[in-house]
Symmetry: C2
């Protein structure tokens, strides 16, 4: 069992890394298995299709990112400070990948959304759930901030959606210019989107 689960993790890790670098569509199962160092025959023991692998990569990445988001947006700090923490964590995460491999990899979910939405409905559905969950989490913090008079925004759902859209747009620029400096204005931009009252 130890070796079995090890092979599955190796395939997932290799697929995640290859998808981040070159996208999903151009990858072949043989290439993924070679990068993972596992026999090609074992792929279909763990995944019934390449699409099933894509879903598993997405799920695994979200399990980690959800914990990070919950960590940043939970806790006892004032709601806007928690939101700021999330933005700083996002910037630090992109910078860490750049330091490690030389390029800003962007957001795996954003990358796959633009590449796969119109190709595979199961992946589209999973990505919808993830972005819905992200907007839920941001909205809870925005609603708290509104209740305490820190923001003036009317529709907390649309405001939270605008914040996540701003993150995705600026992360896209960070990838395009291979520079995390595009993430520095995120906090000021989100303050403006939320109509933050205090300076």
């Amino acid at each position: 069992m130890g070796r079995t689960s090890d092979a599955r993790q190796k395939i997932l890790g290799a697929a995640r890394s290859l998808i981040e670098g070159r996208g999903y569509s151009a990858l072949g199962v043989a290439e993924i298995c070679k990068a993972a160092g596992v026999p090609k025959g074992s792929f279909y023991y763990f995944f019934e299709s390449k699409e099933a692998l894509a879903l598993a990569v997405v799920d695994e990445h979200w399990a980690v990112q959800r914990r990070d988001w919950e960590g940043a947006l939970g806790g006892d700090a004032a709601p806007l400070q928690r939101l700021r923490g999330l933005l700083e964590q996002t910037e630090a995460g992109q910078r860490a990948v750049q330091d490690d491999c030389g390029t800003v990899s962007g957001c795996l979910f954003g990358n796959l959304t633009l590449e796969l939405s119109n190709q595979t409905e199961p992946v589209r559905g999973r990505l919808q759930e993830i972005f819905d969950a992200q907007v839920d989490m941001v909205e809870a913090v925005v609603a708290e901030a509104r209740d305490s008079g820190e923001v003036t925004v009317g529709d907390t759902r649309e405001a939270a959606r605008a914040v996540v859209a701003q993150i995705e747009g600026q992360v896209m620029f960070a990838k395009l210019y291979n520079s995390t400096r595009h993430l520095s204005p995120l906090w000021d931009n989100c303050r403006a989107l939320l109509g933050v009252t205090a300076s």
Copy 2:
């Protein structure tokens, strides 16, 4: 010459359509030529590589979109009304594609940015130039609006970048949910980002 240029346009049109539907990486030259209805041998008469084709698709799309953006952002209307016109035009364009082919195709430049930035430097460079030009155009309007006291924003460059990031983020959501309703809040969100003073 008439037939020659016709074949080139057929290849460009087929490539644009295939790239919008399935991305660039998974496409082969044979498939593009088949969709274009031209002999495979003729591809390399017009394009020295698949990358050269990608650049030509990007250039052709930008030539059209630049005129659209200049049309919306130029003219005699008040600066913020011109910006609003651009956002409405963006929404209408995505809706027209959806009406035509059933799916929101998103932004070709955003799609290729996330797919190709870390794979081909010439495409990355061209996409950087295009987004820089978009930010330039929006910034000119924002600066006008600031001069006339309609917006309170400090850094017009960052504000314009935030507007383009917001467009890209919401267009991504429109593609993900296959719904252009995500583009309706763009104007309110951009008003907030710019610190619009009037109601």
